[in-house]
């Protein structure tokens, strides 16, 4: 199967290790991954902030770049949600683009969807001997309905001790430009999320979105300056890429 990686702009620049992890997991399972270099950004920040006109060229670029692949995988719940849920609405007034979106969108998968639903695996042969808690980000939870797919993948990881996160379904307070426009409310939400994460006693908090993780990780890191040993934020793809040799 021709699997194209949509690494997402944030991961490309700030979290390349997550993209590398996706490549390693899929190649370990015997699949060929391609990285079309024409890709850039899905346009989520533009669209969610009300800049439809600015987002549209990015929608076109995405469709042009990925239209020819059997499957597209992205290690980001919110970018996949953008493509599957918001692209049809954005493209609506342009029938040609709308048709291309409708054709492509069902083939765009978040990593856990690709692994569990399309490739039919839950044990990817990973090892990660640490206590981990999982935060199901809002777009993964309520737009993509990822359900327990990421948890099933994590449970199959050797040595991993998965602990439940109380109030897991509550938003961490990131919300894109919300974190800056409503910084005080965002910080209040973040404080509660960080407290819940720390209470689990986990060494890592994992999620399917590095933007939320940058927010949670930034909060934990700030806490960690006063209370050492605060958990670290990690994309679950990087856990799935870890093997016994490294562990």
């Amino acid at each position: 199967m021709r699997i194209a990686l949509f690494v997402t702009c944030v991961n490309d620049l700030v979290f390349p290790a997550t993209g590398q992890a996706v490549v390693r997991v899929l190649e370990r399972l015997g699949h060929t991954v391609e990285f079309p270099v024409e890709q850039s950004c899905c346009g989520q920040m533009h669209a969610n902030s009300g800049y439809r006109a600015e987002a549209l060229p990015l929608v076109r670029n995405f469709v042009d770049t990925f239209g020819r692949y059997d499957a597209v995988v992205a290690p980001s719940g919110s970018c996949v949600a953008m493509v599957r849920e918001s692209y049809p609405r954005l493209a609506g007034p342009d029938p040609e683009l709308a048709a291309a979106v409708a054709e492509l969108a069902p083939r765009v998968h978040e990593l856990s969807e690709l692994l569990v639903d399309v490739l039919g695996v839950t044990d990817v042969g990973a090892a990660f001997p640490h206590r981990v808690t999982y935060h199901p980000t809002c777009h993964g939870l309520r737009m993509l309905r990822l359900g327990d797919r990421p948890l099933r993948l994590l449970r199959a990881v050797r040595g991993l001790d998965l602990v439940e996160l109380p109030g897991a379904e509550e938003c961490c307070g990131f919300g894109g430009t919300f974190a800056v426009k409503n910084a005080d409310v965002s910080a209040a939400m973040l404080a509660d999320k960080c407290a819940a994460v720390c209470d689990t006693g986990a060494a890592y908090v994992a999620a399917a979105d590095n933007s939320c993780l940058a927010h949670i990780g930034g909060g934990l890191s700030r806490r960690g300056r006063s209370t050492p040993g605060a958990p670290r934020a990690v994309h679950y793809a990087e856990i799935l890429a870890s093997t016994e040799e490294e562990a």
Binding site: Q20, E27, H46, N61, H139, G175, G176, F178, M189, G219
Partner: protein, 493 residues
């Protein structure tokens, strides 16, 4: 079309008002306890209805039908209610509605009215209007009474006093309730309810005029419906001689049978009960039974304006259950007053600016009061896609200001221009990485930055920021391509 007026205009930008509320630790604790309790209750009773998703779809479909046929159904309602002995009046906005009701009360000669809890009368600011002409309005809903005694404004649609705890309520009663028996007044809920009952009983027996809203108005029969928990509404609706009901035009249901759907959806979504204790239905006037004069004031106040927007109009399906408030992580932190409107929370963020138009007060800041987490949409019994409307209203705001200079638009444009071309994009990535390189030297192993310049200082005020990685993903990929696959190792971001 007229835009809405009244208590639906935020005087302060949401971030400013939110900051004020966030500073109140007691408020945060009260809200957290209350919203989590009601959230859990709702989940339990919704979970036991096997056809809940189908019920939600029916609710949405019935309301959409109402919105599509609003003028016709309103006329049908007016005809049916008039035939049953009611007098129907129409009000374009809050001012007109207040004037109408005030005159109706004055005509009875009464200087005191008892009130059933009603959002519509809060919306139009009726109590204030009545007070101006010397008419005292007595709120009879317990939570509404607390707010009124405290000289405060409601902070929740269903539980207007949700921001107070029992101890605070006891203090309000002790200092503000005339003739309260201080010896018996504890902060026990039954003791508080008893005090309110004694205070209200005298008012019920003496009042000649009652004012209510309505949860539903049935077009087919001209019937009005009030759903409540305490029974005080029932007292108001039956004892006085004159009843004035103030009803938003979107409260219509086509047929009596449609109540079947909404009387299942509403109590489970609002109080988390299978059925509310009191449901009152009245159709016109019944000789010798109940109020002998019934006035119905149908209020537009920006609803027609809202109806004109094909995406935004779904907000008019709202049955004011407050489920979206109770699940909202933003509402939970800041409470209702931060929204500056009688309609707070997610529904307020899409309803207030639509009813008033975006230029009223600070209402244009409301659509940004959300992370778009989607919890409201999941909870809404009539499937209002609140995140969709929030984004739509942001877009309307951006479009309306096109052509005017804005730093944000310039940034968004530049970003989109860079990102839609792969060479520009790759160059920008390289520049960002290079720009970050000096910072990397001082941030240590975790690569986290403590302080960034404005506007990103809003981020680093309470969290560290990650740095661009030493090598972008595409650079890693390019290097890997040259060496032929695995073996180049991974970068730790």
């Amino acid at each position: 079309m007229t835009t809405g007026t009244g208590n639906i205009v935020a005087p302060l930008p949401f971030p400013t008002a939110a900051r004020r509320e966030l500073a109140d630790g007691q408020l945060r604790a009260n809200l957290r306890r209350a919203t989590h309790t009601i959230r859990d209750k709702r989940l339990r009773v919704v979970g036991e209805v096997p056809d809940w998703p189908a019920l939600r779809r029916s609710g949405a479909a019935i309301k959409d039908d109402v919105l599509a046929r609003l003028p016709e159904l309103l006329e049908q309602f007016e005809a049916a209610a008039t035939a049953a002995g009611a007098t129907v009046h129409w009000a374009r906005d809050a001012t007109e509605a207040c004037t109408l009701v005030t005159e109706l009360v004055q005509r009875t000669g009464s200087t005191e009215v008892v009130k059933v809890k009603s959002m519509a009368t809060q919306e139009i600011g009726l109590n204030e209007a009545l007070a101006e002409v010397g008419i005292e309005a007595v709120e009879t809903d317990l939570a509404e009474l607390i707010v009124q005694l405290a000289d405060d404004t409601p902070s929740h649609i269903l539980v207007p006093a949700i921001h107070y705890n029992r101890r605070q309520i006891r203090d309000i009663f002790a200092s503000r309730m005339p003739g309260v028996d201080l010896d018996k007044l504890t902060d026990d809920p039954p003791a508080l309810a008893e005090a309110a009952r004694r205070h209200l009983r005298a008012k019920f027996l003496s009042a000649k005029v009652a004012i209510s809203g309505a949860n539903f108005a049935v077009a087919e029969t001209g019937t009005l419906v009030v759903v409540e928990s305490e029974g005080n509404g029932r007292m108001c609706l039956t004892l006085p001689e004159t009843l004035i009901s103030v009803v938003g035009v979107e409260k219509l249901l086509p047929t009596f049978r449609d109540l079947e759907v909404f009387l299942q959806l509403l109590p489970r979504s609002s109080t988390g009960e299978r059925m509310n204790p009191y449901t009152s239905l009245w159709t016109g006037v019944t000789p010798g039974d109940g109020p002998q004069t019934l006035h119905i004031v149908l209020v537009d106040n920006g609803r027609t304006e809202t109806l004109a927007d094909p995406v935004g109009r779904q907000a008019l399906r709202c049955i004011r259950c407050s489920a979206c408030l109770n699940v909202c992580p933003v509402y939970e932190r800041v409470g209702g007053h931060a929204y500056g409107s009688v309609y707070p929370g997610p529904i307020g963020a899409i309803l207030s600016p639509q009813m008033t138009g975006p230029d009223a007060g600070a209402n244009r800041t409301l659509p940004y009061a959300s992370t778009l987490c989607g919890a409201c949409f999941d909870a809404c019994p009539v499937r209002i896609d609140i995140p969709e409307v929030l984004v739509h209203l942001r877009q309307r705001g951006v479009d309306a200001r096109r052509g005017r200079p804005s730093a944000e638009r310039t940034a968004m444009r530049a970003l989109a221009w860079t990102m839609r071309d792969r060479r520009r994009y790759a160059a920008a990535l390289r520049a960002a990485r290079r720009g970050a390189a000096p910072l990397r030297l001082v941030t240590g192993a975790r690569g986290q930055v403590r302080r960034l310049p404005w506007p990103l200082s809003a981020w680093t005020a309470s969290r560290d920021a990650p740095l661009p990685a030493g090598r972008t993903f595409r650079d890693w990929w390019a290097g890997r391509d040259r060496t032929g696959g695995e073996g180049t190792g991974g970068d730790r971001g």
